[in-house]
């Protein structure tokens, strides 16, 4: 089933807008991805509110591997590979909890919540006190960042800091994590992380959430059935009417998103007409946000992607997703859901109901996404299919730098899709970065902006 062996530059051709199916279905390329992408990029691990107290832990995943997100007795946050240094046993097999040590079931080595190897049975007798415990602590990530409560980690110490990695994308992640009223880090996690398996390569969801406005047609059945809390088929039609809808891509970083840019002054049109309390809450927040953020308060978020596999959705349903690779043909999705910490309980309840019926495997909208990813992948595995690349030609060459509308500049490569409806600039941005990771031997080659005029201004 294996056409070419491994990655080579020709596969992603951004001049023609053609990308080979090999990068989705080829097992050798998948194996290389694990080393070149997932072992070097910043990955989302969880949220600090999942481990509020010292000793709390949450078992997460980075790429294919299980990791432990934990807060040590001093309150410091760590991420460790969930595998014993002795014979590799998975040291923690609970999803979450609180503990003082992680004791390995096999031979009883125990590790502190700071990863230190603190207990070795018969250390003096069997090891003659010779085992170097310092060397045998749990494998810790090379870098970790707590950004407004969201925890990110990286296995490569040569990688730049998370904020440098984000670059100009930071403010879009802010939309996810700040309050709707513009206050910092107000996001509160709802209990329960959705986890499920989809039979497709992880890049199908990654590109979909990068800003695929073009597939709205696939959700027509939801529009007909009605799902929106406003009683209209989509909750956000109102603001769509007066805003500019943009594709914003951060070149060299591989991050991209949809953005609604509201006009200045004008209030955001009412939504949630059927739910006065909710309508009132958001109206209030919108006003607050404008006041606090000033011009940037005109930003309204939408689906976006932090390279490589973390999806943002900063409007309703407000969620973050990670697309964990589970072999070339399978993806395990993890889904976190957010509300404003200080929102009235009626608002939280109202939104939760909406999130559940919209998102995930039982979500009326996303069920059809999974179906499409599944069969797009499946129909791309054969020898003939692999000879015919996918088309990413939409809106090629139409992106502008320094986009500005009504006095507000939007950094990055931007396409205003308000009239043209859609573009594939976000996917091209994603795969350009992906192929840089696949080609580069080290972060020295990947931190392109450091030797880059255009971004020198930063």
């Amino acid at each position: 089933m294996n056409g070419t062996k491994g990655y080579h530059p020709g596969l992603v051709d951004l001049d023609s807008g053609e990308i080979s199916r090999e990068i989705f279905v080829n097992a050798d390329i998948y194996a290389e991805e694990q080393e070149r992408v997932f072992a070097r990029a910043w990955l989302h691990v969880g949220h600090e509110s999942q481990i509020p107290k010292p000793g709390d832990y949450f078992v997460s995943s980075m790429g294919e591997e299980s990791v432990i997100l934990t807060r040590d007795r001093t309150g410091a946050i760590h991420v460790f590979l969930n595998s014993c240094r002795h014979r590799g046993m998975k040291v923690c097999r609970y999803d979450e909890g609180s503990t003082t040590v992680f004791t390995c079931p096999y031979h009883g080595w125990s590790y502190g919540t700071d990863g230190r190897l603190v207990g070795v049975p018969y250390f003096r007798e069997a090891y003659h006190a010779k085992l170097d415990k310092e060397k045998r602590g749990l494998v810790e990530v090379a870098q970790l960042c707590n950004y407004k409560g969201s925890i990110w980690a990286n296995w490569d110490k040569a990688a730049p800091s998370f904020q440098e990695y984000l670059g100009d994308f930071t403010r879009y992640l802010d939309l996810q994590l700040d309050g709707w009223d513009g206050r910092e880090a107000q996001a509160e996690l709802l209990g329960g992380v959705q986890k499920w398996l989809v039979p497709c390569n992880w890049k199908f969801p990654a590109e979909n959430f990068s800003g695929d406005t073009y597939h709205n047609i696939s959700h027509r059945s939801v529009d007909l059935a009605g799902i929106g809390p406003s009683g209209r088929s989509r909750r956000d039609l109102g603001e769509r009417d007066i805003s500019r809808k943009l594709h914003v891509c951060i070149p060299d970083r591989g991050h991209q998103t949809i953005l609604y840019l509201m006009p200045p002054g004008e209030p955001t049109p009412p939504a949630y007409q059927n739910a006065p309390i909710v309508q009132e809450y958001f109206a209030h927040c919108e006003a607050e946000k404008r006041r606090r953020r000033g011009d940037y308060g005109r930003f309204v978020g939408a689906p976006g992607e932090v390279f490589p596999n973390t999806a943002l959705l900063s409007r309703q349903p407000r969620t973050m997703a990670v697309w964990h690779p589970r072999g070339p043909n399978q993806t395990e999705v993890w889904r976190w859901f957010f509300v404003d910490r200080d929102a009235p309980s009626e608002v939280k309840e109202f939104l939760r109901d909406y999130y559940i019926r919209y998102s995930g495997p039982a979500g009326m909208t996303e069920q059809d996404d999974m179906e499409n990813w599944n069969y797009a992948h499946k129909a791309s595995q054969g020898v003939i299919a692999r000879r015919h690349p996918y088309s990413y030609e939409q809106g090629m060459g139409t992106a502008v730098q320094d986009f500005e509308w009504q006095g507000l500049k939007v950094p990055g490569d931007v396409i205003d899709i308000t009239e043209v409806q859609s573009s594939e600039q976000p996917m091209r941005n994603l795969y350009r970065r992906w192929s840089e990771f696949m080609a580069a031997d080290s972060w020295a080659d990947l931190a392109t902006w450091r030797r880059n005029d255009r971004t020198a201004a930063e």
């Binding site: 999803d95 979450e96 939760r352 999130y355």
Partner: protein
């Protein structure tokens, strides 16, 4: 006229009949008739499950009406799901899945006000749902269901349904069917 024992056994049999008839409507895609069996105030809840340490069972399930769950909804949303399938362009169910709902271990756990004249019955069962679609795609879902049934004339209505699926990571891409 009949002994309690007999009344209880016959009631169990009657409730089982109802659950089998309900399953038949779902497998035959007679969704509107199925909706008619649901009380207007039904709660349809399917929590997610966690792996927890011995003695911490309290944290095993996500909570109804406050956490994220697989399902946690009422009749209106259930009706919208039916409507969506009926559009004929709900791709996750088009072409339609081949479904079998196997219901077993039907246990009547309680009857109010009495087994002789029950108005509300709480019943538990096991289910195995087999889903096969398109060419070779196949899923098997197994778990328990805790239903509260309410007398409705000659028959019964589902007033509340709690679904316990025996999975942690959901082993399927979606949940496009009713359980």
């Amino acid at each position: 006229m009949m002994s309690d024992r007999v009344e209880r056994l016959l009631l169990t049999q009657e409730i089982a009949d109802f659950l089998y008839a309900e399953a038949e409507l779902l497998d035959e895609r007679r969704y509107e008739e199925w909706l008619a069996l649901l009380a207007d105030d039904i709660r349809y809840w399917m929590p997610m499950r966690r792996n927890v340490k011995f003695g911490e069972d309290g944290r095993e399930f996500t909570r109804e009406k406050s956490d994220i769950n697989w399902f946690d909804e009422g009749k209106e949303t259930l009706a919208r799901r039916v409507k969506q399938i009926r559009t004929g362009i709900h791709w996750a169910e088009e072409p339609r899945s081949r479904l079998s709902h196997m219901v077993s271990n039907v246990q009547v756990l309680g009857a109010e006000p009495s087994y002789a004249a029950p108005e509300e019955v709480s019943v538990k069962c096991r289910f195995l749902i087999y889903r096969n679609r398109v060419e070779t795609e196949t899923d098997i879902f197994v778990g328990k269901r805790e239903d509260l049934l309410r007398r409705a004339g000659e028959g019964w209505m589902v007033a509340r349904r709690k679904i316990i699926l025996d999975q942690n990571v959901l082993l399927s891409k979606n949940l496009t069917f009713f359980i």
